[in-house]
């Protein structure tokens, strides 16, 4: 592409931008555009503030979209129209139509589009994927995946179902994608949810059941709990030859008991800075954009994850399981 370090445009300056920007700065020169918060973000981490999306698109080689969910499709479309390879936060879009439209546009233009399903880069999930792919667990029978943390109150749009898609589309899409990555295509989805929309202390939970084309079954559970709740994840996967399970609360290489307690982050998982999954993710995507290996997540993966989440949301509406159309129809 170029001899100079890649010029990366970051669109958005919210919570997840704080996980992306420091890692992008390790990979290239970063320009940040956001309707709000860009100067503060850049002051904290570095980079260059630009004042319009057009200016950003004119100055960069690659665009990383970390705007709120409801704006993903619009910004990704603009970046693709400008011919720029795109990394987009998950969910790729809120609707199946938008998600498949983005996939189609990227494909027709021959421009890379990578949705940031970062859980595929977390080492405990990489181990699980390796165990499954190597045949260590045999044919998969039953999977449980769960994810708990504090209700995201840092921005109002999370609590607005129309803007975020709620806990299933925003948080549980990680494990919906993981279940499909591990056990293959999903043919039926059902969901239940419960929550208290208290303005001061909202909570929301959901359980999603997946039937895979292989016959394997998955239970995906999500919790947006009270504000003090630490972020934790669990999985338990069993196949004909064995089982593998993990609990982020149990597996720790650092325990402390200090008079001044260390901060607890209820919004993002605890990560090892020496093996930062956000860095591994962005490096893999940027490497692919610069001509390297095909990454472990495709645009289609992002659109199918959205389709599974929307099937779960439809199940909440109808009170009945939703049959998922075959892949080609999802992406039609």
């Amino acid at each position: 592409m170029t001899q100079h370090p890649p010029r990366i445009g970051l669109v958005g300056a919210g919570g997840i931008a704080r996980a992306h920007l420091p890692n992008l700065l390790r990979l290239g020169d970063v320009f940040v555009y956001s309707e709000e918060g860009a100067p503060e973000l850049v002051a904290a981490y570095g980079g260059v503030v630009v004042h319009s999306l057009d200016e950003l698109l004119a100055r960069v080689d690659v665009v990383d979209v970390v705007v709120p969910t409801f704006a993903h499709a619009e910004i990704v479309r603009a970046a693709l129209a400008a011919g720029k390879p795109v990394i987009s936060e998950k969910p790729l879009a809120l609707t199946d139509a938008d998600a498949s439209d983005l996939v189609a546009r990227a494909e027709h233009a021959g421009i890379p589009l990578y949705p940031a399903h970062v859980v595929r880069f977390f080492p405990e999930y990489v181990r699980l994927k390796q165990a499954v792919d190597s045949g260590l667990l045999g044919d998969l029978a039953v999977l449980r995946l769960s994810r708990s943390g504090a209700f995201p109150t840092r921005a109002a749009w999370y609590a607005d179902h129309a803007l975020s898609g709620g806990i299933i589309m925003d948080q549980m899409i990680h494990d919906l994608d993981m279940a499909r990555w591990l056990a293959g295509e999903v043919v039926r989805v059902s969901a239940v949810t419960a929550g208290i929309p208290d303005a001061d202390n909202p909570v929301q939970a959901a359980h999603v059941l997946l039937t895979h084309a292989s016959g394997a079954i998955s239970q995906v559970s999500g919790l947006w709990g009270p504000q003090h709740l630490a972020f934790t994840t669990e999985y338990s996967v069993t196949g004909t030859l064995g089982c593998l399970s993990h609990s982020s609360a149990a597996e720790r290489n650092y325990r402390s008991d200090l008079a001044a307690s260390e901060a607890v982050d209820g919004l993002l998982p605890r990560i090892d800075p020496a093996e930062d999954p956000y860095y591994l993710e962005l490096r893999e995507y940027l490497g692919a954009i610069l001509g390297g290996q095909v990454p472990r997540v495709s645009a289609a993966d992002g659109a199918i994850a959205v389709a599974i989440a929307n099937a779960a949301l439809k199940s909440l509406e109808t009170g009945q399981p939703t049959d998922l159309p075959v892949l080609s129809e999802v992406l039609a």
């Binding site: 039953v142 208290i196 959901a206 059941l209 079954i217 239970q219 919790l223 709990g225 089982c243 399981p321």
Partner: protein, 348 residues
Amino acid sequence: MRGLKVAVMSFAHTHALGYMTSLAAMPGVEVRGSDPDGTSTGESVGELRGRALADALGVGYADTFEELLAWGPDAVVITSENARHRKLVELAAAAGAHILCEKPLATTWEDGLAMREAAATAGVMLMVAFPVRFASAFTRLRSAYRAGALGHLITVRGANNGMLPRSRDWFADPVLSGGGALIDHVVHIADMVDDLIDSEPVSVTAITNRTLHAQRAGAETAGLVNITYENGVIAAIDCSWSKPDTSPVWGGLTLHVAGTGGTVEVDFFGPAAHGISSETGLPIESRYGPNFDDAMLDTFIDAVRSGRHAQPDVHVGLRTLSIVLAAQESVRTGRTVPVVREPAATSS
């Protein structure tokens, strides 16, 4: 205090061993069993049936149920195959004995209602054996919830995973067991949710497969169930027989509960010393902790002596059974299924 006669009808369920052992150790309790259909499958105590097992445990034995009931037991513990619970409950109730019936209460709704009727007509107590709710860890969870520490409870996530039972083949035979993993392992968690939130189950969705132990099992070996309760609480249960045959322990039961006040996790069989056998390379998991069966049997025996009503009773048995039956229907139809409510009793 006069001695209490406790009869154990059928040793088909492995729990018969533990119950007879615990009962025999209770002061003032005389235990006698009968297992006319039982045939030993080997020499170990886990494989013994009939008089051989009674002898091994040092308890009395009767060759037939008629002879056992003619002894005049105050209480009867039923540990037969699930599908035979009804017949034995009816016999025990007709003999005027209070009853502790192994879970699940029954394999059909009709049988469950008939058992309620039989106990009511005879004026005897019918308790269902859900020992896990007697764990001190569950008492602590219930206390925390009732004290408001969990705030407004919204969700429960439970996993009750075990091995495919091996020394008792009937577990995987739907005619005798009433199904597979769904009927075996949904009810313990359903019982604890029932006790905790005191709300009726409204609808159930379930998915299953037979991928594990496909050759040996006559019914589903993996099952996942979603339940919605009248008060809005949701529950997700993994009831799979997903512990590998080589596991050092039979399985376990975990519960995650969340509300506006936070979360509580209980790993009922978690505490253990861990190691590795250098001979086999297999893990050693040496569990410790109180015996839940003892606490349950104490409650049952106290209730028999005092005439006080004990929980979990037949109504809990019916509500937990209604969830299993809805789950089975959900699997058959691919639909989310409403849970049948217990009808008012026709007698008593």
